[in-house]
Point group: C2
Chain length 527, copies 2
């Protein structure tokens, strides 16, 4: 949120500097749009034969040009969605910005469900498949890990020592096990024993315990922490078995004994874990976490809309996609309530928005719901348009449900899970909710990975992609510099998601990320 100003200003500079004349001058983000986005500065009078358009005004990079005439009062559409209304008649080829486009009454009109179109499902026989691991409870895994979870920071060192006993050599006899991973974190004590903070932490831990990508989970506590194992076990009705076990360091008799004990308990899980095999399953078993981090001025033009196209396709194939990062959609919640499947679902989102206003206010912060001067210079006319740059990841299908952080997500379809925008914290919640693949768009070049689910980096521009190619799974820059359509890029992302879900290694897995990015959302006083 707070990055946006700098990003947009920078994007304009970058776009200005992009002098490769073979790149297309304008980009169409969605077939329904009546505006196009200038990929670089286009001067008045320029003919754009590829889109059958002649520019009547100078269009700065990142700004909008009318693809056809728009009458006064008519909706202006970008990303296939309303970003405002024409405040005067706009001719084809004119610059569209604050002088001829505004919010109108739209701002306070949530219009629950008015744009919730029925999903056009792909007929069952034509649906895509991938090679997944079907768990006994019917959930489908994309990876096969054993997790060593911690109730509290005080058990972090023991948990890491247990996991590190299972290096490649130790797992040689268990080729179907992807690894043993410890999930350390900084909280679990010095906090209230009940209330929002404890609720989120327990829900997150439980979500990981239940995640299909774990064949087994060992939960390690110290013994005297506020976040007691006994309460977690009781609350969620957990029982020790092949796939879940727990232990306390104080009961084990100290660090060394606890490590030995933990290693034995993990060893006992390995034979059953190794029996996991992949089989063809429908793409509807994908639960895709949508995330952006290290955004830049290209994010809203290339990677995010391309991911949105992939999400629309995934939803038509019966899959689930999870948009999050509530602060990033703030001020544009209307766009999601209009896509909500029901008033009830729309109201759930608005309840979260109100919660965030209170959360930031009581922490001496604010939610910003205006495009800044920097945003406007960069071509963003309304707050809807600004937030859509992030929300474009979510495509255009109807909003099926709204979930709290780390709540189990059933699917199918496009859903929203409340979370901060902060990457590790947001993705931790998405994985706790059941996401089995992550798509992460980045312009500056975020490096991260989130075991137990593979995370794909979708790069917004070719410059960053080339500089950090070992970290980036796919380059969405060609939408700008090779004229690849957003839909075509969406198809490439969809295919990559299926291959990755089938076991193909992502860049962040090759680099062994995911052991340090478990960051449960910490709310409340540290005491």
């Amino acid at each position: 949120m707070t990055h946006a100003d700098a990003d947009v200003a920078e994007a304009e500079q970058q776009a200005d500097a992009q002098t490769v004349t073979t790149t297309p001058a304008v980009v169409r983000l969605n077939p329904d749009d009546n505006v196009l986005v200038a990929a670089r500065r286009v001067t008045a009078g320029t003919e754009l034969p590829s889109v059958g358009l002649k520019c009547r005004d100078d269009i700065p990079a990142g700004h909008k040009v009318a693809a056809r005439a728009v009458a006064e009062g008519e909706a202006v559409r970008k990303y296939g969605q309303i970003i405002g209304f024409a405040t005067q008649d706009i001719a084809e080829g004119q610059h569209v910005h604050s002088h001829n486009c505004g919010m109108g009454d739209f701002e306070r009109d949530y219009d629950h469900g008015v744009e919730a179109r029925p999903t056009e499902y792909v007929p069952e026989p034509q649906r895509a498949t991938f090679q997944g691991i079907v768990r006994p409870d019917g959930q489908v895994a994309t990876r096969n890990y054993i997790g060593v979870l911690t109730t509290v920071n005080c058990s972090a060192t023991v948990a890491r020592a247990v996991a590190s006993a299972f290096n490649d050599a130790a797992l040689e006899a268990y080729p179907n096990v992807d690894g043993v991973v410890a999930f350390a974190h900084g909280t679990g004590c010095g906090m209230a024993g009940s209330g929002e903070g404890m609720e989120l932490l327990q829900r997150t831990l439980h979500g990981y315990m239940m995640h299909p990508n774990f064949a087994g989970v060992l939960l390690i506590g110290l013994g005297c922490e506020m976040n007691q194992i006994s309460r977690i076990v009781e609350r969620f009705g957990l029982e020790r078995g092949n796939s879940f076990d727990y232990m306390k360091i104080q009961e084990a008799g100290g660090t060394r004994a606890a490590i030995q004990d933990g290693v034995e308990r993990v060893k006992a899980m390995l034979p059953a874990a190794n029996e996991a095999t992949r089989q063809p399953v429908p793409a509807s078993q994908i639960k895709l976490a949508l995330q952006c981090g290290g955004s830049d001025g290209y994010s809203g033009i290339t990677a995010n809309p391309a991911l949105g196209a992939a999400v629309d396709k995934l939803v038509r194939h019966g899959g689930t996609a999870i948009l999050s990062e509530t602060p990033e959609i703030y001020g544009a919640e209307h766009l999601l309530t209009r896509r909500a499947v029901s008033r009830e679902v729309g109201e759930k989102l608005l309840e979260r928005i109100r919660w965030w206003e209170d959360y930031t206010a009581r922490n001496s912060g604010t939610m910003d719901n205006n495009p800044s001067p920097g945003n406007k210079e960069g071509g963003l006319t309304t707050i809807l348009e600004k937030s859509l740059g992030a929300a474009a990841k979510g495509g255009t299908t109807r909003l099926e449900n709204v979930y709290g952080y780390a709540e189990p997500i059933e699917g199918p379809g496009f859903v929203f899970m409340d979370s901060p925008g902060y990457d590790p914290c947001s993705v931790t919640g998405q994985i706790a909710s059941g996401a089995n693949v992550v798509c992460f768009t980045t312009g500056r070049g975020s490096v991260s990975g989130f075991k137990p689910s593979p995370s794909l980096k979708l790069c917004t521009n070719s410059t960053t992609y080339q500089r950090m190619s070992e970290d980036m799974d796919i380059n969405c820059g060609p939408v700008l510099d090779e004229g690849v359509s957003v839909e075509e890029m969406g198809d490439r992302i969809f295919d990559l998601v299926l291959r990755t879900a089938s076991g193909e290694q992502s860049c962040s897995e090759a680099l062994d990320f995911g052991d340090n990015e478990f960051v449960p959302w910490q709310i409340g006083a540290v005491m």
Copy 2:
């Protein structure tokens, strides 16, 4: 804080169960005390020849017995400090509790400085020494590490990969270097760019950078995070050199390049780091962090007062001791303001107390300033007495100053640093403030360690000590079960602190703790 009720109730049970008849029945916590504490239930009529006393009442375990007659209105002293006033005449051997002891007007009377006695320093030639490492700036180190710090969670994996390149084999040529340690954490972005949260994080990172126990520090950022390296460098006037360097992953060109780059930068620090040698330095160079975690009903009777005796001795030798954990002293701040060297110092503490009341209130929590029914059953008569169980670690010398979390502490003498009670968060602040040894009292058996400073575990009871002997550095149980005096136990702790500061390995170092316990205090909304 919230542990106390359960702890005290449990302590009574444990004390009741303690049937070894050779143990002394009562314990004197301080020579100035006019009450003694029953180590186990003592029945009316029991003669206690070791203290020249006959019990007139039944004294439950953990409760107090009058060591001499106390007149109505006279102060009742435990830990050498006022815990209340006699509300009626009390005879020698009588039970002292709510029926004859209360707070009086003391409660709202901060009486700044009335008990601030001048420190009786040990004459210079007689002062203790240890083998320390004198840094070019005159600071004295107790260990010699290289630290790999992170601005944000997004650089955690790279930082850990850099540090893990320096295993024992890689450091063979640098025998004077204790190790290369990564300090990962969960925050650094998705937060306000200024204000309290960012202030604490930057202060903590800077405190670690300046810590004498690091021969060198490499700070690794991602590049686009809110907690920008450039701002840290500018704010604190840092310059690259032999002992400080920094880098960004996005500038390095991705994960693999960043790891290689980081490894080279650490390698460049090793030759100078290896030149560190130990030499005799005065004990005044000790900055001792005081901490308790996993407390039990014995904490206030054995380990905490024994540590307090060691602190009094350290202060007389010119050293510095840092009490923290503000919620643990809440309601007993009067005891510290009365010891304050000036009204100004006392007011600083009260300002922090008021801040905590606001902090917990705005996070829907409360500070509790009454001993609970469970506390009272366990023998704790007033809130002063309850909080003194924790504050006893700080001994009896005057309070020289009050610091914010992670603020640089100059010393000498007994000081207070504001922090939560939560162990890893509190100790992280103490080390950022400059603590070069940690003394950590525990009854339940906390396991932890805090690189770059050695951390000693002081166990409150022999049962836990025996069960977790590999984790516990010293057993304070003999105060109860062998009649070892609190002063004598304090001497043992003081000697152990000096040996540890000189390089003797603590239990937590032998177990290689300290790579996962860096937990900066996170305040404010995660966005």
